[in-house]
Symmetry: C2
Subunit: 192 residues, 2 copies
């Protein structure tokens, strides 16, 4: 159950067997069926989750009832409404499962405990956060300035192999374009 998360952590910090034991003891496994919600708008969010298996989508619903897909999460991603998790405010996002998913959650208080017991995790999450910050910034700039084709290529690069797993209308939603435009764009790229 812990193989993929242990490998993921080992990319940035080294842990002893005892550290791993402490770490594992704080993780809460969670299995979700396709279409279930991990987080709904208005929820209090006490957990962040590592995706061991599956595919989830973070989206917001605007006042007109339109969904805006903010992010996908697949294996080895961390997922939560981080605004709600870090700031202890209510969730503005919804996160649902596009596939049957297996997650490992850690409670905010246990994360704090983890930092105290194994300070290496401060480093680990600092590194993850710096990557997340830059990726988010790139995504904003990409939305502001790039053509839909360039945004699509960015999406492919950011989420390799996800294209077969996510319905086209959601990829289009993530890119901020109509499904027809996505099909057209793909045909054009295939021909070039």
């Amino acid at each position: 159950m812990f193989d993929s998360i242990d490998e993921h952590i080992a990319e940035h910090i080294s842990l002893t067997d005892k550290d791993l034991e402490v770490f594992h003891s704080l993780l809460v496994p969670k299995r979700m069926r396709k279409r279930q919600y991990l987080i709904q708008e208005g929820d209090y969010v006490n957990y962040q989750y590592f995706v061991s298996k599956g595919c989830l989508r973070t989206f917001e619903v605007d006042s007109g009832g339109n969904e805006h897909t903010v992010q996908f999460a697949i294996e080895n991603w961390w997922v939560s409404d981080f605004g709600a998790f870090f700031k202890e405010r209510k969730a503005r996002f919804n996160i649902d499962c596009l596939e049957h998913s297996e997650l490992l959650g850690i409670h905010r208080d246990d994360l704090e405990l983890l930092y105290q017991k194994i300070p290496g995790f401060e480093r680990f999450f600092r590194i993850k956060l710096s990557g997340a910050y830059v990726a988010l910034q790139d995504r904003i700039l990409s939305a502001m300035e790039k053509t839909s084709t360039e945004r699509y290529l960015d999406f492919q690069k950011r989420y390799p192999n996800i294209e077969q797993r996510v319905p086209n209308y959601l990829i289009a939603n993530y890119l901020g374009i109509k499904p027809e435009s996505l099909s057209r764009l793909r045909r054009k790229l295939a021909q070039s």
Copy 2:
């Protein structure tokens, strides 16, 4: 010279006098005149900077030559092209000084050294990054969904007292509206 940065650090971690000595020895003071550039597009970026005094602006120039103001930085903010700093790629942003500014820079290698010598800084920057991540996400959503009046109120909340220090056309640029619209919006708010 170090009073404001020491207070800023002390908000999240406790340091001994010896720690502070090590920390200070790694900081490089930098004075900039109004209109000077701290970073220009295409630069390699080896430093992140703490603003002891002054006001800076991060902006991007699109292919049509139009400036997009991404962020302001005033006292107690950290500033850099973080994509370039973290990922060791060329800067896509420009950062110029809107006022005479006093900065304390830390080189990427010295930051790594600091983490090794004083692991508390891992925690400090993890906390700062989680705040920056959430603020950035809020800004995107605000740009997508909110009215210009709501975005203006967010700006005031995020940068208290900056309004008198920054020219109106740059505030308008940050909000993605015309200077005339900003004046209209202010009049409307003053009357309400």
